[in-house]
Amino acid sequence: MLRKKVCLVGYGSTEYSRKSHRPLLSYYAEAMQNAMAQTGITKKEINGFSMVTQASPDYSPYVAEQLGLELDWVLNGDCGGAGAVCAIRRAADAIEAGYLDVAFIVAGNAFDKNVAHQRVLEYQRANYVDVYGYGGPNTLFALVQRRHMEEYGTTLEQIGKIAVSQRFNAGPNPQALLRAPMTIEDYLNSRLISDPIRLFDCVMPCSGGECVVVASEERARQITDKPVYLVTDAEKIGFQASNMLPDKTVTGMSVVGEHLFSEMSRDNIDLLAIYDDYPIAVMMQLEDLGYCAKGQGGPFVDEHDLTFGGDFPVNTGGGEISVGQAGLAGGMLHVVEALRQLRGEAGERQVKAAETALVTGIGWLSYARNLNTTAALILERRS
């Protein structure tokens, strides 16, 4: 389905740090303040608020109260790494329905002792995975990557090229915590964490926050002369959930891609912001989105230049594996990078003539499968 009258009108980011004990809400607030400064929107004009989180000190209405917001719409975004993309979709639905015209969507992380990590029950993870001494998502992605390598002959060099290209992209990004140049040898020689996953496959948890502002077209035209339109969007939750012999290398993004590219040609996309908690996740999404056949992600990355000046720019700010993963701001980071590019605000790493971007979010690894939540947006700058 094509969206008609929903725009992304601005964003705000905070500085990232390895470990900060600042209150989490101060990161939300700082990201919002920066978005307000960019857009000129005042607090009174914010009538929708979503907090994308899996570990906040309070529920979203309580957080809204602490921020002094009077709202017509509120949402606790709970789709994990796909949460930012999903919250933007929900906000777009509400804006199209006429319930509100300006929504601030925030996410962030801090090592805030007051944050109760509300791991609700996580029954299947707790009772049937953790008891075996697994290494968290590192092991769950290792189980996926092993299948991909054995089934399709994907090599560590091909997977590593994604990490190396993204590190190159992070070079000119002042927000990125990991900017030093990295070679494929550095990648291959990084220490094994849960084989075949090694250190430079893994995101680094950190503190930071991101905010994106979604508005009706009418308000967008008052707020900015650089409106970015939400063109189309889709999600798939629980892909293969009832299949006891699921295909570990195919994700819900295959369904999302079919929806998106029935509306627009994938060849019209100028840059991709692909959720990158691990390079193998990027490769599998490129396959599932139809940029190449399943299993051909390795040869595909061999044949393309993924850097911001290349023929197929992916994660032009370095992605989460270079910038750092500030909790679920990891998903928001990709939206913000796409907005920077489409608004021509990406500085040295600006992709030339960038008008259209694809942004994905993935999350909540499912038992013996892969991604429980998959979602994506196509964004377009229109003057």
Partner: protein, 134 residues
């Protein structure tokens, strides 16, 4: 230091853990649609019905994928690394996340036949279904 992770047994999976403690692997099967499923749930993933029974399975299967984990999430497991976390496809057509034990666990390959065994834990009432190379 916190101990090694243990299941929090609940009414849905009590029978699974009780069987494992006796050295039996039992899975849920739907009487209505015949689906065999794992992990244990309140309902059938095939039809959303509640008419589930517990059936014994062979405990034989093949390695679908594995990882030798050097850095367990719960550091209490550090004394056992590398831990061979694996997914095993049972003969009956269901996959389980598990562990492959034994000194030959570094020789695990995809498709290797494995057999279930039951590992003692810090809780005398809980035994974990794990697998060995057959």
């Amino acid at each position: 230091m916190a101990g090694k992770s243990l299941p929090v047994v609940n009414p849905v999976d009590r029978e699974y853990w009780a069987a494992a403690a006796k050295g039996e692997l039992r899975l849920q099967k739907c009487r209505a649609c015949g689906v065999l499923q794992f992990f244990p749930r309140a309902v059938c993933t095939g039809c959303l019905g509640s008419d589930l029974e517990w059936v014994p399975v062979s405990g034989k299967g093949k390695v679908h994928t594995f990882s030798l984990c050097r850095v367990p999430r719960n550091r209490a497991f550090m004394d056992e690394v590398p831990i061979c976390v694996a997914e095993v496809e049972l003969e009956e057509g269901v996959r389980m996340v598990t562990r492959i034990i034994g000194d030959n666990r570094d020789q695990v390959t995809l498709g290797a036949p494995v057999t279930v065994t039951f590992m003692e834990t810090e809780d005398p009432d809980i035994k974990l279904p794990v697998f060995e190379l057959a």
